[in-house]
């Protein structure tokens, strides 16, 4: 039986393995050193690699990203931790204007191989500033790559791929999954390539496109629909920029019905882009409009009652699938 790790342990193992493999890899962020990270993602790294490669920084998100960019220009591969994805807004300019544009404005003569780890997502009573899902902001910026793993396997494999990638990668790790998702992980040099989706469940009646913490409730909803004779295919996008058009279109061609499920808010979330692309390129294949089950266009409230009222869940996904199937 292969070893199993939690999603959080998988992230830690990816960091440690990449730091052992390549002396140019280092991590930096708030509380990542002695403390081992607010969630423990960097535990043990300080003892193994020392303070020069596991850098406790001041509360300076913009500098954390900017320092990473400077180091990357000298051949290093920094992994910057945002303590919460919500705080990434404080480093926004360095990501979207400095890192994302650098190769373009340098005429292709340089690249910025940095990773920005961003613990995102709700379901943990985090309130307005410890629950956000800001991935769409970065998917809107050419020059970046954006990934959002849903399993321990992908958490490790995608982080290793991101560290080895020559481009700036924003890596959204979902806090709800840290200790809840558990499973086997890739070993050795195996990675999970950026830009490739995973089909989590086969089906021929409808397709769910989802990622992150919404994969599990999507699978549960698919199981529920199977009892009603509707076989739903569930595609875990894993990478949001670039997203796996081939996998999406292949499934759309098969099922003709698509439901996008994401925890981010609805307006101009990933679902809006997926819906548009499917309409532009697969209109003839569709038997129904592309529907969405998402967070409503509101903030993440602290109250458990209010937060649960907002979060997409299995029942809401089932409702969405029923509406979709009725077309």
């Amino acid at each position: 039986m292969p070893k199993e790790l939690t999603y959080l342990e998988a992230i830690r193992e990816a960091l440690a393995e990449e730091m052992r493999r390549d002396p140019k890899v280092f991590v930096l962020g708030e509380d990542v050193g002695v403390y081992g990270g607010a969630f423990g993602a960097t535990q043990g790294l300080f003892d193994e690699f020392g303070e020069m490669r596991v850098v406790d920084t001041p509360i300076s998100e913009s500098a954390i990203i900017g320092i990473s960019i400077g180091a990357a220009l000298r051949g290093y591969r920094p992994v910057a931790e945002m303590q919460f994805a919500d705080f990434i807004s404080c480093g926004f300019d360095q990501i979207v204007n400095q890192a994302a544009t650098l190769r373009y404005r340098y005429g292709g003569r340089a690249s910025v191989p940095i990773v920005v780890r961003a613990p995102s997502g709700g379901g943990v009573s985090g309130g307005l500033y410890h629950s956000q899902n800001p991935e769409a902001w970065f998917v809107h910026r050419p020059g970046l790559k954006v990934v959002a793993p849903s399993t321990a396997y992908d958490a490790k494999g995608l982080l290793k791929a991101a560290i080895r990638d020559e481009n700036p990668v924003v890596y959204f790790e979902h806090k709800y999954l840290y200790r809840r998702a558990k499973g086997p992980v890739p070993e050795g040099d195996e990675i999970v390539p950026i830009g490739v989706a995973a089909t989590r469940r086969d089906g021929h009646d409808a397709t769910i496109l989802t990622y992150g913490a919404m994969v599990t409730p999507s699978l549960e909803a698919a199981d529920a629909m199977a009892k009603e004779g509707v076989e739903v295919e569930v595609i875990d996008l894993r990478s949001l920029l670039p997203f796996d058009k081939d996998a999406i279109f292949k499934s759309v061609d098969k099922t003709s019905r698509v439901l996008v499920v994401h925890e981010d808010v609805k307006t101009l979330g990933i679902g809006a882009e997926l819906s548009a692309v499917i309409m532009e390129e697969r209109f003839d294949a569709l038997d129904a409009p592309v529907l969405r089950v998402t967070y409503p266009d509101t903030h993440a409230p602290f109250s458990h009652v209010l937060e649960q009222a907002n979060l997409p869940n299995t029942a809401r996904i089932v409702d969405g699938l029923r509406t979709l199937a009725a077309y």
Binding site: S60, S68, G70, R74, D93, R105, G107, E166, N167
Partner: protein, 327 residues
Amino acid sequence: MPPIKRTKFKLAPEQLLEMFYWLRLIRAFDERLSILVKQGKVRSGVYTGIGQEAIIVGTCFGLRKEDWICPLHRDLGAFLMKGVEPRVMMSQMFAKTTGLSKGRDSALHSGVSELGIFGNTSMLGANLPVAAGLGYTFKIENTDNVVVAYFGEGASNVGDFHEALNFAGVQQLPILFICENNQYAYSVPVEKSMAIDDVADRAESYGFDGVSINGNDVLAVYQATQGALARARSGDGPTLIECKTYRWHGHSEHDKAFYRTDEELAMWKSRDPIPTFTTYLRARHVLDDAKLKEIEGRVTTTIDDAVEFAINASEPDAPEAVKDLYA
């Protein structure tokens, strides 16, 4: 102006003449650009540093190839002194394929890592965290190379300034922070943007020295730089050098600068760094009419050649607009 009498770091006559050449070349380059804008041959993106040349020459003179510079938008001369060919810089201004950006952006938004030049975005101060990252790599490698990072007094009000200088102070990084205090942030005078007289005073709060000097005196700038470089190279950390100067032209070439008086401009023009240095060189018999003529001829030839090269260079092909986004 008081006589220049700073002799700690000796300069041979040929070095003094080289400094003079750079002052003249940089001035002439910007003056030619200004004309080219008026002629409609260069479209935009021209932010001259006319009047501020002594800062670039005094700080860049004698830097190593391995040292890095992080210039700001008026520091085209820094690119030239660090080794970018005048033809390439002129092509960059003409948005031609032979420029650093291959036509994708104007002057200083591109860099050359092989020459130790970082090109910033338009977000002033955003180069400073990157400089901190570059400096951090020198610390990791335990080398005695140095980063020279430039910013205006206006950018010293940006958050990135604080985050970067704070980190540099905490980590004792080998960085020279060179403030080009030219009295105006576009139209806003320094007294409206700072409640203190000297940007240099800000260094104390980051735990390193700040000095305020006459930025129109190339030898004063050189002497201050050499002292700070020696400290940085020996592991004694950063220094902030505030160079008081004045921007003769508007913020950009389209800015008529009505917000300042003719008297103020005339006063600062009387402190032109080039005649001051010319007088110094003549008094010491380093420069005579023949040498002056030779240098002026070389400057004109170099710029004529660069303009001709840039005008004849090819425009970018349209498909280039969507290339070089990813490595």
